[in-house]
Amino acid sequence: MRGEEVIASLKEFISDDTLIVSSNGNVSRQAYNFLPQPQVYLRGSMGLPMSIGLGLALAQPEKQVLVITGDGNFLMGLSSMTTIGNYKPANLKIIILDNAIYATTGGQETVSSTVDYLKLLEGFGIQHYGSLNSIKSPSKLLEAFEILLTSKQTAVLHIKLEEDIKNLENIPWQPKKIKNKFMEKI
């Protein structure tokens, strides 16, 4: 399954009380195009979506915060997972979309394929985590989303994707508009 199909199938799980932080590049463009707006669409700050999600989860403990990040972004911000593993806000959920490439910049390989995500997440002290190494059927994916998003603790789902370097159009909103629209909805 490709990243945009995975993101599109999240739609039924997203309510007005779900706050999404999407990583820069194609992931935020997919979130913009396929999920309810507005959300936090990152334009830059590679490596920081998990940190931003942590801050947001601490500020809005009654709401569900969902970080959607590519593997390159996740690996750049890896040390922030130790902070998350330490403070463990129950309302923070993270989806790692792992296509093992920097898709937005032309499909250069990341080093993600060397990582055992289950061991890694366990090592961070994250108690609720899962990994889909292949998506055998759409129902398996929906089941994994359900488990992730109904978890009563910090939870992370790693999903191995098909390679796909098709890039979507740039998000038309300027950063300030993204911020203002997002803050208006809270």
């Binding site: 700050s45 931003i52 801050g55 500020a59 040390s79 922030s80």
Partner: protein
């Protein structure tokens, strides 16, 4: 000299409920006081850019967080400024220890950054104030006013022994 508890009370009165950063020995007392604080939580970040991410996320959730970092972190933090805090116009107060001046003459690891600290902040276009004496509240008032008016990052430089 400024008492840590006085600074924290001031920040709490100005609606800061969270702080994060990476320690510097210049902030040892402040961090001890923060640890005891019932009003302001401290999140120990692993890197300064991560701390900017946490503070920006907290602000997007409509609450205020300040940072405490060493000036060495100004080198790590660049992209978090230019492509997050400044790009999205997120107000952000940062206490930065001013290492590399006279008291650090035997710590060469701080000297180069000490020499360029203000140049770096100027290059980022970040306003800063050196908070030294009894007028510290006026300086913080001014910094917060600027931060809120311009939705900008502002830095407070803190030399050795200023905060006790």
């Amino acid at each position: 000299m400024i008492k840590s508890i006085d600074i924290l009370n001031y920040l709490s009165e100005n609606n800061f409920e969270l702080s994060t950063g990476v320690p510097c020995s210049y902030f040892k007392e402040l961090l001890i006081e923060l640890d005891k604080s019932a009003d302001i939580q401290y999140i120990a970040a692993t890197r300064e850019d991560e701390a900017v991410g946490i503070a920006c996320g907290y602000y997007l959730g409509k609450k205020n967080c300040f940072l405490i970092i060493q000036n060495s972190g100004l080198a790590t933090i660049g992209d978090a400024f230019t492509s997050l805090a400044q790009l999205y116009e997120i107000p952000l107060l940062i206490f930065v220890s001013y290492r590399g001046l006279e008291p650090d003459k035997n710590f060469p690891e701080h000297v180069i950054m000490g020499n360029v600290t203000e140049t770096v902040l100027d290059a980022y276009g970040i306003p800063y104030w050196n908070m030294k004496g009894e007028d510290w509240k006026k300086i913080l008032d001014k910094a917060l006013e600027r931060m809120n008016e311009d939705s900008s990052v502002v830095c407070i430089l803190v030399e050795k022994g200023v905060i006790i």
